[in-house]
Amino acid sequence: MKPNSKPAVVIGAGPAGLCAAIELKKAGAPVILMDENAKPGGQLFKQIHKFFGSKEHKAGVRGFDIGNELLAESLQLGIDVRLNTEVVGIEKDQKVWAVENRTRSYVIDADRIIIATGATENALSFEGWTLPGVMTAGCAQTLINVHRVLPGHCVLMVGSGNVGVIVAYQLLQAGAEVAAVIEAAPNLGGYGVHTAKVRRAGVPFFTSTTVIKAEGKESVERAVIANVDSKFIPIAGTEKILDVDTICIAVGLTPSIELASLAGCGMMYVPELGGNMPIHNEYMQTTIETVYIAGDIAGVEEASTAMEEGRLAGIHAAWAMGYMTEQEMQSKTEKTRERLAALRQGIFGLKRLIAKERVIQRGIAQ
């Protein structure tokens, strides 16, 4: 097969997109990596904690160091990284419409497209939720870890998943107090080791509890929390007032599927993975043969799983473009899948593993 000279376009330079582009470039395929931000790395540069996993997953390495390693590798490989470049459309026959610096618009004729646009944090509406001081946990994390600005001095964290407890810990590290971490479910969601380090710093956890009101004149001055029943309805008379100036919302993420939707990819609803997402097969290929997805758009997980999915997509796309033998593709895919499987074991991974299997079965069938 004669290699195709049209490039692969990777959209989104987070952990998934970077790894996809690296695999493509290593195979010798022409690749263009686009990101709307001024800096690549996606969310990696605000992850100041040490990652879990094994050595192959870069366990013990802090997120921003992983980001720097991936950037150095993409630089060394000479990948064409286009920053401040928004992809605003994907048209028939893999035409990618990009806008650079909000001034120049152009269309690239791509051979393969890998969409790695990540996910968006969910909002939670309650009385007073538009007051300054109410923000998503990811926003607070960007403020403290990227811009080094403390959003407030006393924080209520709503949601006890890993994002909520990791950001609560990082707010403590940044010098804020955390008044409480609350969770609507009867049990805490995040890893026990994360909740334990927040708890021993003196932060109380309240389960079966939600926020019902933010109060304050110009910005948040208080939060009203209340217990909820088994249907998540607040129970009257259980209200408690917390004197906080910041309320962080960490109630899950939703895959950012707009571009995949424009490209015509078939979708399915998978609540365990964050909602509507493109159907894909075991090579991360969508229902459109030439379009792949990787990372949180393919179901909300973690940076470590996003990197492996990016590699899967990049390896298969490189083979499909004629830059890798089938044997090499299969052997690389197999190794990547083993690392990915290791991350989806145990009580936390199992739910995601089963949900992913369901998506992949649909993907293979179509």
Binding site: R62, G192, V193, R199, R200, A201, I347
Partner: protein, 170 residues
């Protein structure tokens, strides 16, 4: 007060939960030698404790979601695993006379100073007793997780896991 189920409600494991997982050394063991305490009772995909140990005293094996198993005979209490654990779940404790010593991971500023009196806390963050800082270590290999050694009254040895955060003087 029932302390049986704590981790998924209160955020921190109870002594019962830790003992059920078989990870805590007994007081007798702590009097005999310094012992590693790994407070990791959920099956998460993680094994740096195992790979950091030069004595092969901690095994996780495959799958990497297995809970770590400590071989107390092999463990030399070198402390390499303390900053290696991404969950900050490892301490080393010992008892000498009427004093207990703990080496614990620390990622807050300001750092405590040698000789400083600090407030030692239990798993729930409650201050239980005073502690004396013996040493702090933050070498490059720790990758920004400091290891602090503190001494306190031995009666709290099973409860104490860390110290209260210090505040910068303005």
């Amino acid at each position: 007060m029932s302390e049986k189920i704590s981790l998924k409600i209160d955020g921190a494991p109870s002594l019962e939960e830790l003992q059920a997982a078989g990870m805590l050394p007994s007081v007798e063991e702590l009097e005999r030698k310094a012992c590693v305490c790994i407070e990791c009772i959920e099956e998460i995909p993680c094994n740096p404790c195992e790979t950091s140990c030069s004595q092969n005293a901690i095994s996780v094996g495959l799958p990497i979601t297995n809970l770590p198993v400590i071989d107390r005979e092999k463990c030399t209490a070198c402390g390499l695993c303390i900053p290696a654990c991404p969950g900050l779940a490892i301490t080393i404790k010992s008892i000498q006379g009427d004093k207990a010593r703990i080496r614990f991971p620390w990622e807050y500023l300001p750092m405590p100073n040698r000789g400083e009196r600090v407030a030692m806390v239990d798993r729930m963050g409650e201050v239980r007793c005073e502690g004396l800082i013996i040493s702090t270590q933050n070498i490059a290999r720790n990758n920004r997780t400091a290891v602090v050694t503190a001494e306190f009254s031995k009666e709290f040895v099973q409860e104490i896991v860390s110290m209260r955060r210090l505040h910068e003087e303005l």
